[in-house]
Symmetry: C2
Subunit: 312 residues, 2 copies
């Protein structure tokens, strides 16, 4: 098993097959540059950005790295179309789509030599996107943080392997080399980590956010928005439990509470009204480390597992 | 990575580190004998049995195999105490506890040389049971069928590895050698499969049950009983969806619908009022095979993954 030269490292021209998950507010150009400089694929999480904000972030990251990087575009963002145009104008090497079907954008991206990937939580969308010309698929299990589907990584990745020809990246529940090795055993040629990079030195989220990740156990997340049609995994707080309770009887009030809640967590560390999106692997993360250490330890550990316990 | 000689094969004196999950009604002596004869650990799922019924099943399996086997005891069963006594009287090699804390039974079992294991969905119970003298822990992710917790296999197994000294078995989402290899990469020394054995030739469940597993996709399960305090993953049917709907407004009615619903699925293949317990890996199972083929293909495939694609 090769963890350094895979279909994903070849496609993306990166050193290690580790992608930064697309994280609105938390996935800044600073964090993305750190991931790219460490040999992974840094990803600007464009979230609800418009053209102007994204352009700024892209110009910023170009001053910090000459390595490939990506922009994640949430298809629920009303500015999605103009963000795709921005990516092309700015000659961003790669775009990752989330929360929808990006098929209509794929021909234009291909014409402009932008690599396209999409995050999926089921095989149906993945197969449709492969037919539409996507370059790679990121399968994301429901143990992941933020917006999620309902199938776990252990089941989703082999299913996608059985259905797809394009390269496959595994996401959801991956915080160390053991999970990277496991995902490769399941058939993935790369992994995506989000939560693990939140607890990195270079990540710009509020200290309270990082503290919560370090302290939490594997059972300390809840899923908000399940009844509202947009499930998202967040750290269990009084606020998150209150949202879950309100979803059934007062869905409008729950929706209102969620508006701006991620930003409040990221920017202000607001424990009263912030939604701290994170995956179940918070329970495996014990310290804030540099992005470089996270990436290298993960790859080395995965290699060690496959080399029968010998040092590499 | 060794898939034939592990702490689990040594503890249980079995050929392959594959355990049959404890399945009420479906885990008969016939299926358990087939699993043990094929080199795994067959498991009689005692479910709601009393002493007399379990004694019959144990006497029956002894006529079919001379290999080690286990009895699974659900601690919610009011006859749990007498089933423990039965296991000891009948000199059953191994007992697996589910749905509760079996600490009080462990000294007696140890005195009588019965190996004890327990299915857990969090590290807290696992650590308490290790202190109480359990011989091995089975960590079960929430992609599993039947009664489940809330953490996925990808996250639960590494966490348990970090907390435990006793041997560890992974369960939840495992239907083939890819998942077996993945679970070993995460740190397990054995795997438990339930759903995969439901779709075996030797399994005595109604043909409709097997058909449903073969036809289903990875998203074709739902969790019933979540609001009632006993979450169980079942195949998505009209019945299952109706139970989920009623749980909130008419919990008593939902409870009543669930009584006897597993038996109706197993014995009668009753699609109208049966609960077809099964894990998300139904979406990876495409044919009914013999237990021997299932076990050997799983081990051979896992070995192949770790041997860099060479035939073994």
């Amino acid at each position: 098993m090769n963890f350094r030269n895979t279909r994903i490292t070849q496609l993306l021209k990166i050193k290690y097959p580790i992608l930064e998950g697309g994280m609105a507010w938390a996935g800044t150009s600073i964090l993305a540059a750190a991931v790219s400089n460490a040999g992974g694929l840094g990803t600007i999480g464009s979230g609800s950005m418009d053209r102007q904000l994204l352009t700024q972030e892209i110009k910023k990251i170009k001053t910090m790295t000459d390595k490939p990087f990506a922009v994640n575009i949430m298809l629920l963002n009303p500015y999605a179309q103009e963000l795709v145009e921005t990516v092309i104008e700015e000659k961003v090497p790669c775009v990752v789509f989330g929360a929808g079907n990006p098929a209509k954008f794929l021909p234009l991206l291909k014409e402009n030599n932008v690599i396209s990937m999409a995050v999926v939580s089921s095989e149906n969308l993945a197969v449709r996107l492969e037919r539409a010309g996507i370059d790679a698929i990121i399968g994301e299990g429901m143990e992941s943080g933020g917006h999620i589907g309902d199938v776990t990584t252990m089941v989703l990745i082999p299913k996608l392997m059985d259905c797809l020809s394009v390269p496959l990246v595994a996401a959801g529940g991956i915080a160390d080399g053991r999970a990277m090795a496991a995902c490769f055993a399941l058939g993935a040629q790369g992994v995506q980590m989000g939560t693990r990079f939140l607890a990195s030195k270079e990540c710009q989220v509020h200290e309270e956010y990082k503290n919560k990740i370090i302290k939490a156990g594997i059972r300390d997340t809840v899923i908000t928005g399940e009844k509202l049609g947009h499930s998202a995994r967040v750290i269990r707080t009084k606020f998150a439990k209150r949202v879950c309770e309100l979803e059934l009887d007062c869905p409008d009030q729950a929706e209102e509470m969620l508006v701006g809640s991620l930003k409040r967590a990221v920017v202000n560390g607001d424990v009263e009204e912030g939604a701290f999106m994170a995956g179940q692997c918070i329970g495996l993360i014990e310290q804030v480390e540099s992005v470089k250490d996270i990436i290298e330890k993960t790859v080395f550990h995965a290699e060690k597992i496959f080399c029968g316990g010998q040092e590499v």
